[in-house]
């Protein structure tokens, strides 16, 4: 992609007053990111901005490179070329631990939760608070409870419930709350509603929206168009390793995204707001 993807102003419904948005610098900026596995070009010259306070949806068919892209950001893969900028500074993310240190949390599709531990224990796993060499249970329980109620996750009976006894939506909520608890700046979600029913999907999407409203950057991977248009402020479309479009969600509709995902172009008439720059149409 040759043109600069202009960061799009926060939409009215988001309260994007986080650092990145305030200075005009997106929280995360990818410049010319490429990644190949042998002869397979998984990602080719990706330029993408992920601003704080907004939900950026990453759409694409199977094999489009969505997973590779988020793995590059979360430190599981290292890109072959290109640059990752965090708050305007180039960074090298070599491991999930380094990503976490920057404030990047990934909520995995297969939910990295331990069934045999309770909600508090899962939320603090790996970063337990310790007093006098013993676990500070009360402190952790209080913090976990506060985080959950601040996100209005009220469906769980008790924070001392085992994760095994939670529904899919509740587990997803716990996984997301975990990211908030650790003061993440960017939360990457891989198909967070894939296995959920209607009511639970709505619950998780509300939660996703709430994260962005709190000023976090959210990168949402999904090929469910309903979900994408329900919560996303911006939609980035990947096709065969190329980023074919980055649009404001308000400017396009599901049919356009499907066209972009499958053919890389869309001739359909959408309702662009005249003042807005179309950012990636010249790509096709």
């Amino acid at each position: 992609m040759s043109t600069e993807v202009a960061p799009i102003e926060a939409e009215p419904r988001s309260s994007a007053e986080a650092s990145g948005a305030a200075t005009g610098e997106p929280l995360l900026r990818l410049r010319g990111l490429s990644k190949s596995f042998g002869a397979v070009h998984a990602l080719v010259d990706i330029n993408l901005d992920v601003p704080a306070g907004q939900v950026t949806a990453l759409a694409g068919d199977n094999g489009a490179g969505k997973s590779v892209l988020i793995k590059c950001i979360s430190g599981i893969h290292s890109p072959d070329s290109g640059e990752i900028q965090w708050e305007g500074k180039p960074v090298h993310i070599r491991s999930p631990r380094e990503a976490a240190a920057l404030g990047i949390e990934t909520v995995h599709q297969d939910l990295a939760l331990c069934d045999n531990l309770d909600i508090v224990q899962n939320m603090f796993l790996g970063r337990e608070r310790v007093r006098h060499l013993t676990l500070a249970e009360e402190e952790m329980e209080t913090a976990a409870g506060q985080t959950l109620s601040s996100l209005a996750v009220t469906t769980v009976r008790s924070v001392r419930q085992l994760v095994a006894s939670l529904s899919g939506g509740q587990r997803q909520s716990v996984a997301i709350a975990k990211a908030v608890l650790w003061n993440s700046r960017l939360v990457i979600m891989d198909e967070p509603t894939a296995a959920l029913g209607v009511a639970q999907t709505a619950m998780v999407l509300t939660l996703v929206r709430r994260l962005a409203d709190r000023g976090l950057a959210v990168l949402l991977v999904s090929h469910n168009m309903n979900d994408v248009f329900e919560v996303a402020d911006r939609v980035a479309v990947l096709r065969l390793g190329h980023l074919v479009a980055v649009e404001r969600a308000a400017d396009i509709d599901a049919q356009v995204v499907v066209d972009l995902m499958t053919t890389g172009t869309s001739t359909r008439a959408t309702q662009p707001k005249p003042a807005e720059p179309r950012t990636a149409d010249d790509q096709a």
Partner: protein, 434 residues
């Protein structure tokens, strides 16, 4: 939920108390219940009842099983529940309890350690050797050296398992064979190494004086009671879900009652020729190990990570936990605990001989842990389970021995109990509300 329910200091005491009704109360009222806000004792009991109904049986099956076994054997032989026999039973079961407490670590990790039977043999023989005239080490140095040797064996096996990525079953099976060989080699021609040190021999056979028994019991109950009170009133103060104060007091009272009952039983003269009274040392050793491992598993990061790895190793890895280190430590603790068991075994027989069958010992240890409620699939279990399971196995052995049954019958009955325990656990889990 069979673990991490918060402080449960009554458990340790109740376990050793043959007064099983008290033990049952203690465990069903596991404190720190993660359930809806409760204000009164009645609410609390209702929540506990609901939790059991939902398949979270905890140690209830094994306690019920113990009650059943006691009633059965008592009806067959009036001596079974006599003070002397009850204390005997605890002394006989101590080796199983200790070994099973060691085995709990690999089981929680979703692994298994088949070597700890013969590793305990190594612990016994190292102690016995170092106490010989020709070496003449003091008892404490010999015990320390034996425990370090056992921990080293666990470290070696754990390192092989984690660094080379080999299955623990195979590595520790090699250990079972290998350490048996080493043990036979160390025993040499005679095949028996007697122990003449009084302190070491008293570990299994010696007792506190009746007065000392009372003092120790009061100290333990006071410490456990104070801990419970402080922990639960702290929870109430921070506004977290906590058992009501009346229940806390009831628990402390139950601890006291259990302690008094236990010391009364132990202080009854159980000698045939000479009077024997007082709490056996070995009970304190088992209690000490139980308290230490319970603390480690419940209150420290290490313990939390052991459960996390057993529950979902991939989630633990993503949380930044060093899997190899925790696993290796788990195997080390298993062998270390086996070392303690081996010294007790040697102390009871006042010798180490080729008769030590580590293969049977380790399988009994696994059986004890599983009968007590530890899962073979990892992530669920407690040190307490090992103790309760050890008591069950010792009770079967002892009760059938009193009736004059053969070893063959004992094996069959133990097998049936093991199968029953696993079945109850599986059925309860299946009925659990998800």
């Amino acid at each position: 939920m069979t673990k991490l329910e918060g402080p449960d200091p009554l458990g340790p005491l109740a376990a050793e108390v043959p007064d099983l009704a008290v033990a049952a109360i203690a465990e069903t009222e596991a404190p720190d219940a993660p359930e809806p806000k409760v204000e009164t004792l009645r609410d609390y009991l209702r929540v506990v009842y609901l939790r059991i109904r939902s398949g979270d049986t905890g140690v209830l099956p094994v306690v019920a099983g113990l009650l059943l076994i006691s009633v059965l054997f008592q009806s067959l032989n009036a001596n079974f529940l006599s003070a002397g026999n009850l204390v005997n039973l605890l002394i006989q079961g101590a080796v199983y309890m200790l070994l099973a407490m060691g085995e709990v670590f690999p089981l929680l990790l979703g692994e298994i350690d088949l070597s700890i039977g013969f590793v305990s043999g190594i612990g016994g023989i190292v102690t016995a050797e170092l106490l010989k005239q020709s070496y003449g080490w003091p008892w404490w140095a010999a015990i320390l050296a034996a425990l370090i040797a056992c921990a080293g064996i666990g470290l070696l096996q754990g390192t092989i398992i984690t660094r080379l990525g080999l299955p623990s079953f195979v590595v520790t099976l090699a250990g079972l064979l290998g350490w048996q060989g080493v043990m036979l080699l160390m025993l040499g021609q005679g095949g028996t190494q007697p122990i003449n040190d009084n302190v070491v021999n008293d570990l299994a056979s010696g007792t506190l004086t009746p007065a000392a028994s009372w003092i120790v019991m009061i100290l333990i109950v006071a410490a456990a009671g104070a801990r419970t009170w402080l922990a639960e009133s702290r929870r109430r103060a921070t506004g977290l879900v906590a058992p009501p104060a009346s229940l806390t007091l009831l628990k402390i009272a139950a601890m006291g009652a259990a302690g008094v009952a236990f010391v009364l039983i132990c202080n009854t003269d159980r000698g045939r020729l000479l009077p024997i009274k007082g709490v056996p040392w070995v009970v304190l050793i088992v209690l000490g190990v139980l308290a230490a491992w319970t603390f480690l598993l419940r209150r420290t990061k290490f313990g939390r990570y052991v459960y996390a790895i057993g529950g979902n190793a991939e989630a633990a890895r993503r949380a930044g936990i060093n899997l190899s280190r925790i696993r290796t430590l788990g195997f080390m603790l298993a062998s270390f605990t086996a070392g303690i068991a081996g010294i007790i075994y040697a102390s009871r027989l006042r010798s180490v001989s080729t008769a030590l069958d580590g293969g049977t010992l380790v399988l009994y240890a696994v059986a004890a842990a599983v009968i007590g409620g530890t899962s073979l699939f990892g992530g669920r279990g407690k040190a307490m389970h090992a103790v309760l399971g050890g008591i069950v196995i010792a009770a079967i052995d002892n009760g059938m021995g009193l009736q004059g049954y053969s070893a063959a019958a004992k094996y069959v009955v133990t097998a049936l109990v093991l199968l029953t325990a696993v079945t109850i656990d599986a059925v309860a889990r299946r009925n659990a509300t998800r």
